[in-house]
Symmetry: C2
C-alpha cells in the first residue's frame, strides 16, 4: 500500500518544468525524510507531448489538458510554469478558485497582476508561492519575508539578472563590444533570441518591484521604476571603471529615504552602476545573482547563487512545493503574507525622482580635441555646482572627437543633467554625454 | 482596549537580551504590520536588576524569577539567553514541559543536548527555534532547512566564527603575531577575556555540528569533528598565502563523501585553511560570517552577514519569535523538523578520517640552512608519493634554522603525515613541520 502523498500538477513542461520533474524524482528520498510523506508529481499539462525531456515520467499522467489538471482531485498544488501574462493569469486564478495552492516562477505575472492574484488566494484560503521568481535558486524572498522580518529594511542592492551579468562580465574580460558579446551569449544559451527583457533591465525591474514590496511594504508598479539597460555601455567604460577601482554591474537598488517634508519615500532604480571592486557584489561574476540586504538590526547581509537555469530554478520551485505540502497536510494556509507585509499595511509611497538623487557620477564627453574645450566643460559643470574628482583625457583614435572621462564628486543628478544639457549644446561637443551612476556604499 | 498580543518572556538580560528588547521596541510597528498582531515583551528575568541597559522597559515585569516567568500564563514564548549548559538545559526543559515555545541562541547547549531538547519539544507539542545559534543574524539555518530543502546538499564551507575571522583579517593586514592581534581584539571587545572557545575552533565545531545535521541528516557530536584553531599561525604563513594566491580562513567544512565500500560518509572538520583569494569566502573580512552551501539542484550558494553582536543576533532571535508567534496564534507546532530531517531519518554516519583526505597542503619546514637538507626532505616526501608544486626557501633570519615553505600537489594526508614523521626525525630539522590544508574548490 502506498503511503498517502500530496499530489502536484505541473502546467508547462519546458526547461524549468523538466527541472522540477527531475528534482522531485531524484531527491524523492531526502524530500520525504524532511516532510514525513511523499510529494508526488501526478500530472503534467503541456502542448508539446512529443519531445523527450529525458526524465522518467512513469506514473505521471501527461496530456495537454491544463483545465483538467487543475480540477483533478489528485492535484493539491498546481505549478504554473508557462510564462507570459494572459493564459498564466487565467489558469492561476482558476487553480486558486478550485482551492489549489499555486507555485509560480512568473515574475512578470506577479509584477503586473500580483495584487489580484494574492487577493484571490486569500479569498480561497490557499497560498501562492513564488520564491523562484526572484534570484532563481537563491532563497532570498524567504530570507526577507521570514529570516530578516524583525528588521526595518533600509536598503537592498542586487544583481538580479544573470544574462546581463554574464554579458557585463564578458565585456570586462575581453574588452569586446556589447553586440559581439551578446551574440556569443545567445549562441551559448545564456541569452534569449529576443534579449530585450533582460538587457533593457525590464526583468530586473519586475524583480525589484517584488523585493521592494517585501522589504518596505511599498506598493508600486514596475513601470514607475527608472530603468536603464546595458546596451549603451562601451569597452571604454570598463577600462575607465578598472582604472578608478570599480566594476560595472546592472544593479537593482531600493532604499528607504526621506522627502523634503520628512515624509517617507523610496528610492528605486535599475541602472548600470559602478561599484567598488573589492565589494562582494562586484565579485559576483557570470550568470550568478546576489542580493545585498541591509536591515536596521542585522546590518549588511548578502545572498548569492544561480539566478536562473533549469535546476537552480527547480530548486526554488520544489522548495515552495515542500512548504505548501505541509500546509496541505495541516489543512492551513496564509501562514506568512505573500509580500511579507499584510495587505492592509502595503501602501503606495512616492518614489524619489532621479533628479534628486545625490552621488558620484561617471561622465563621458565626446568633444573636439582642441585646447580650451575641456576648460569650457568644467566651467559649465562648476556653474551647476558639480566639481570633478578625476579627469582622463583619452587619446584621439581618429574617430569623431576624443572621449573625455570624468568622475564627479557627490552631485545632485538634476544639476548634472542641467549642466549636460548646456554642454551637449556646445558646437565642440560631438555626441550626447553619457552618464553612469557610482555607488560607494557597498 | 489593547489588541490581543502574543507575550514573550526573556531569561537572561545581557548583551543579546538587551538587543532583543530593543528590536521588539523599535520595530514593533513593522513587526505588527507583518504579523497582524503585536508581539510584546511582557517579562524579563535576570540576576542583575540594577544595571541600566538603556532600553525602555515600560510595561515589562523585570525580576530575577526565571521559574515564575516560565509559568506565567502571559508568556507564550520563552527566550533563553543565559548561555552555558546546566541551568540553560534545566530552564529550557521546564519551559517546554509548561507548553511554552522556546527560542535560544545557545549553540553549545544544542550541540550537547539537542536531541533531548528536540524530543521534549515534540512531546510537548511546542517548538525550539535557534536561528541565532549559527551565523548570528544570517538566516542560514532557515535557508538550509526550508529554502534549499529540495536539494541533496553536497557540501558546506563556512566562516562561522567572527572573533577568529577578525584576528585572521588583522594578522594578514598588519603582519603582526597572533598574541598581539588577539590582545587588541580583546581590548576592542571582538574577543572574550577567555578566548579559548573561539580561537581553538570549539565554537565553530558546535555550529558545524548543527549545520551538518541539517544538511545531511547526520548525527554526530561536535567532539568527533577534527578541530584545529588558529593559535599556530605565523605572520610568515600569511605572506606565503598571498604569494601563492590564497587567503587563510578558519573554515568549517562538511561534505558528503563515499567510503571504500561505497558507503556514505561525511567529511567534517574545522581548520585554518588556505582558499583562493578571488573566491567570495576569501573576501569575507573582519567579524563577518559567511556560509557557502552547495546543493545538487541549486549549485553553489552563499549566505553572508554579521555572525555575532547585540543587534544582528537579536535580529535572528526576534525572527524566530515572529515565526513562533504565528504558531501560537494558529495553535500549531512542529511545522518543520528542527534539524530539517525528521528525527527518524537522522542517522549516524562515519566521518572520514583526516588521514584519508586528499588535497593540496601547505607545509613549513624549519631546517638547518645547509646544502642537501632540502633535497633530503623532498626525497622523503617523494618516497611517500607526495610531489611538490612550489618551494619558497626563506632567508635565514638569524633565528633557529630557516623556514622552507612548500606547496604540495594533491596528496593523501596520511601519506604526508608519515613523511613528516620521518622528516621531523632528521637531525637537521629543528622544529616540528607545520601543515595547513588548501581548499581549491571554492
Amino acid at each position: 500500500m502506498s503511503r498517502p502523498h500530496v499530489g502536484v500538477g505541473l502546467i508547462g513542461f519546458g526547461t524549468i518544468g523538466t527541472g522540477v520533474a527531475r528534482v522531485l524524482r531524484q531527491n524523492a528520498d531526502v524530500i520525504e525524510q524532511r516532510l514525513g510523506f511523499p510529494l508526488r508529481l501526478v500530472r503534467i499539462a503541456d502542448l508539446d507531448l512529443e519531445r523527450d525531456r529525458g526524465v522518467d515520467l512513469s506514473g505521471v499522467r501527461f496530456d495537454s489538458d491544463a483545465e483538467g489538471l487543475i480540477e483533478d482531485p489528485e492535484v493539491s498544488i498546481v505549478v504554473e510554469l508557462i510564462g507570459g501574462y494572459d493564459i498564466a493569469r487565467r489558469l492561476t486564478l482558476r487553480a486558486l478558485e478550485c482551492g489549489k495552492h499555486v507555485v509560480t516562477a512568473n515574475k512578470a505575472l506577479l509584477a503586473l497582476h500580483g495584487k489580484e492574484l494574492f487577493e484571490a488566494a486569500r479569498a480561497a484560503s490557499v497560498d501562492i508561492a513564488f520564491e523562484a521568481s526572484v534570484g532563481g535558486g537563491i532563497p532570498v524572498l524567504r530570507a526577507i519575508r521570514e529570516g530578516l522580518n524583525a528588521n526595518r529594511i533600509e536598503s537592498l542592492y542586487g544583481i538580479m539578472n544573470g544574462t546581463t551579468n554574464y554579458v557585463l562580465t564578458e565585456m570586462e574580460k575581453t574588452g569586446e563590444a556589447f553586440d559581439i558579446v551578446l551574440k556569443r551569449a545567445q549562441d551559448l544559451g545564456y541569452a534569449e533570441a529576443d534579449p530585450t527583457f533582460d538587457v533593457d533591465g525590464v526583468d530586473a525591474a519586475h524583480k525589484l518591484t517584488l523585493l521592494a514590496a517585501m522589504a518596505f511594504g511599498v506598493e508600486f508598479t514596475f513601470k514607475e521604476i527608472p530603468t536603464e539597460g546595458i546596451r549603451g555601455l562601451l569597452p571604454l567604460d570598463f577600462e575607465a571603471a578598472k582604472e578608478f577601482g570599480y566594476r560595472i554591474k546592472l544593479l537593482g537598488v531600493a532604499k528607504r529615504s526621506e522627502g523634503p517634508g520628512g515624509e517617507e519615500r523610496i528610492e528605486a532604480r535599475v541602472q548600470p552602476t559602478m561599484i567598488p571592486r573589492d565589494s562582494l557584489l562586484a565579485n559576483v561574476d557570470g550568470a550568478m545573482n546576489a542580493i545585498a540586504v541591509q536591515g536596521d538590526a542585522v546590518g549588511p547581509t548578502l545572498f548569492y547563487g544561480a539566478g536562473a537555469g533549469e535546476m537552480p530554478t527547480a530548486s526554488a520551485v520544489v522548495g515552495d512545493l515542500i512548504e505548501l505540502a505541509r500546509e496541505v497536510r495541516r489543512g492551513t494556509s496564509g501562514r506568512v503574507a505573500p509580500l511579507s507585509y499584510l495587505p492592509d499595511a502595503l501602501q503606495p509611497r512616492p518614489l524619489v525622482p532621479l533628479a534628486e538623487l545625490e552621488g558620484r557620477l561617471y561622465l563621458v564627453f565626446t568633444a573636439e580635441d582642441r585646447p580650451g574645450v575641456l576648460g569650457q566643460i568644467t566651467t559649465i559643470l562648476g556653474e551647476h555646482g558639480v566639481s570633478l574628482a578625476s579627469v582622463i583625457q583619452q587619446r584621439s583614435d581618429g574617430g569623431i572627437g576624443v572621449p573625455v572621462v570624468v568622475l564627479t564628486h557627490p552631485a545632485v543628478e538634476g544639476a548634472v543633467r542641467a549642466a549636460l544639457a548646456e554642454i551637449d549644446d556646445m558646437p565642440e561637443v560631438l555626441a550626447p554625454t553619457r552618464l553612469v551612476r557610482i555607488e560607494e556604499e557597498l
